[in-house]
């Protein structure tokens, strides 16, 4: 246990099989409050709140204050945070919205996979890495974490724009492409060769899953919901939706796709019924608790010690630049026809690597494909790309002051209903 604290005069600590309730709650309290203080400070600086929450994780985490160590519990809350976040984004995205931008999303995803992969690969080769290591650095740059962009656009009130939908669609496709890239690269790292038959099968499963949910998800749910509504337990539809969200996250995981892709598809399958059954409000209350752990959890992963070595620091900065340029150029070129501004919105929206990049880096470290230094570099890239994107998005979407406060208005309106 990371959190053994004194538990009053009874001294209920230390023995096997016991849990320290107070220490656990203190850990969660510190992380939660730090994240929201970071959010408040950044809101006041007219910067995106998500960046403040990530920075709060850096500060209270093991790199600066050591108040909170990453643990199984903070990881679980963080993962639930991003799962519920993507589920909510799914609730606001109808399958037809995605299908309408399907071709563009496909091209954006392809560009956003190819260019960062190539840039990362040659960067690492240039720095004397082996081919397997270089492949892994490239693969780590491929990962996109759509959670951050979704959170920023949702809070700015831009989730229903065409570019937001292109980003969401591209993120789903990007995740499947990333899965295939990672399968090839891991194969090389393990055995020196990739089992392309197996990998084709993996791709087939993942694509079938996404297409099935896209085309039949809403219909299946339209049939299931009345039955769930007839259950005797209270809040059966809301609880059923939680179960469905977790189920698809697990299925996605078994197919090798990120859990958040499953959660997004689960939300989308309920998007047509969502408004009527009031799911959004329930999940809003639920996810507001978890999301600070997701954001601060990303910040806790930074390794500042690596930055004291000048050559590593230079590598961090250069690879971050390549990671940003790779996605911005690779993802905006395919949609230049929408105009420069919108193309940039899409490109920047795909920049955050977030927790997906961190997972790839940990996999590479585990396989021995990444050295400790390169691991720290990739972590740096994952976190910094995640923090760079939100302010750029806020600029690019140039929110009107009125639109900026859409979220707060909604809250006030809800409270208004409550009172009446």
């Amino acid at each position: 246990m990371d959190w053994v604290w004194a538990a009053g005069v009874v001294g209920a600590t230390g023995s096997e099989g016991e849990h320290d309730v107070t220490g656990l709650l203190l850990t969660l309290l510190v992380l939660f409050v730090a994240a929201k203080i970071g959010a408040e400070i950044f809101e006041r600086l007219r910067q995106p709140a998500v960046v403040g929450e990530i920075l709060a994780g850096v500060i209270v985490g093991p790199q600066v204050l050591h108040w909170v160590e990453p643990s199984e519990v903070t990881f679980a809350l963080s993962e639930l945070g991003v799962v519920f976040l993507l589920f909510m984004v799914g609730l606001e995205t109808k399958p037809s919205d995605l299908l309408a931008v399907g071709r563009q999303a496909l091209l954006v995803a392809a560009g956003g996979v190819a260019l960062p992969m190539v840039l990362g690969y040659f960067f690492a080769l240039h720095h004397g890495s082996t081919q397997v290591t270089a492949l892994f650095v490239g693969a780590a740059l491929v990962a996109t974490s759509v959670g951050i962009t979704a959170r920023v656009l949702a809070r700015l009130g831009y989730l229903h724009t065409r570019t937001a939908r292109i980003i969401l669609g591209a993120a789903v496709i990007d995740d499947i492409l990333g899965l295939l890239v990672l399968a090839v690269v891991s194969g090389f790292a393990r055995t020196g060769a990739a089992d392309f038959r197996q990998i084709a099968l993996t791709g087939l499963y993942a694509i079938s899953f996404v297409l099935f949910m896209l085309f039949f998800g809403c219909r299946v749910m339209a049939r299931a919901l009345p039955a769930i509504d007839r259950l005797r337990i209270g809040q059966s539809v809301y609880l059923g939706a939680i179960g469905f969200c977790l189920t698809l996250s697990v299925v996605a995981g078994y197919l090798g796709v990120a859990a958040i892709v499953g959660a997004f598809l689960a939300g989308m399958a309920l998007s047509e019924a969502s408004e009527e059954i009031g799911l959004h409000r329930h999940f809003d209350s639920l996810s507001e608790f978890f999301i600070p752990f997701f954001l601060a959890g990303i910040g806790m992963h930074v390794k500042l010690s690596s930055l004291t070595n000048p050559s590593v620091l230079v590598m961090c900065l250069v690879l971050t630049l390549l990671a940003i340029l790779g996605k911005v150029i690779g993802c905006s070129l395919p949609v230049l026809s929408l105009g420069g501004l919108r193309a940039m919105q899409v490109g920047v929206g795909m920049v955050p690597r977030g927790e997906v990049g961190i997972i790839v880096a940990q996999l590479g470290l585990g396989l021995g494909a990444l050295t400790d230094d390169l691991f720290a570099v990739v972590l740096f890239v994952a976190v910094v790309t995640t923090m760079v994107a939100p302010p750029l998005l806020a600029l690019l979407y140039k929110p009107e002051p009125r639109v900026l406060h859409v979220d707060e208005d909604a809250t006030t309106a809800e409270v208004g209903i409550d009172i009446s």
Copy 2:
């Protein structure tokens, strides 16, 4: 990690510092769905849902199916579940409601501490235990877990009755008395003597904390809320309430009182403002996710293996009977003036030992004051008293069919607002 599962073709498991997202989400999914299936079955049998959720934990837990093992994560979710549950009960309890029943609550708590303590002590002595062990068995019977009763009464729509308030007030006082008993008993177990000066100080801190929150909590919050409302972050009042709830839970823990007492006091401090700011709805959505982990988590603690030994089984049954009679008689006698039915409601409402009893048992095991057999017996008592009380409460409160469905009506009404 308890949950290492294959994670698709990438095989992202096994290496140090990595987390298995899919395995984690699967664990939570199984526990959550099992609990709600248990609830649904018991609702259909016209039995309290909470019992079905506890039984679900027994079945999927390490004693029967081995699908889920208790871990730091399930413990954390369980603890958050009961903390948010008691916070919500606090939201519905104004300080004046408690003060109005203060004298009765004090007597109920005193009776409910004294009689079970004496019964447990002599039972253990009779079975050849040492004096220290006997004291610990007595102390374990003192613990009351008000979460279960609160959940049952809230779902039946009886949280605003006089007897419910007596139970809540008595539970808070019971917790302080239990703290003092445990401090004395632990002192004997550790050093053969109790430091009464230290224990008096502990009692003073705990009592001051409760009285301060009772008399000044609402006033402090009335001043703090407008400032929190002015924060720039979205949902600032709701998020501030979460922070406040966790803060008081931690403070309570440091004072040696149960975290749920802090959460209850935090909710009560916001009870006067709660309706206006719509806190209840937010916390309802939040706690509905966590409470299944609390209930199923209790079930996961049962050790069925001990029941195969006939003499241990007899001890389990006898001590459970004493635990029930101790609370029913000890808590109902002081309020006999309310009439036999109401006195019984109070007595039965105090019967569940739940997670508080489990914590005391673990402490006793850790101090060497309980043998493995007695530990299993006390766990049995904690879980079975928790499962016996809800059906009795449902009978004693004899809900009208209309009142039974109060909760569902409220949900429908909310959805109605949503649509309009």
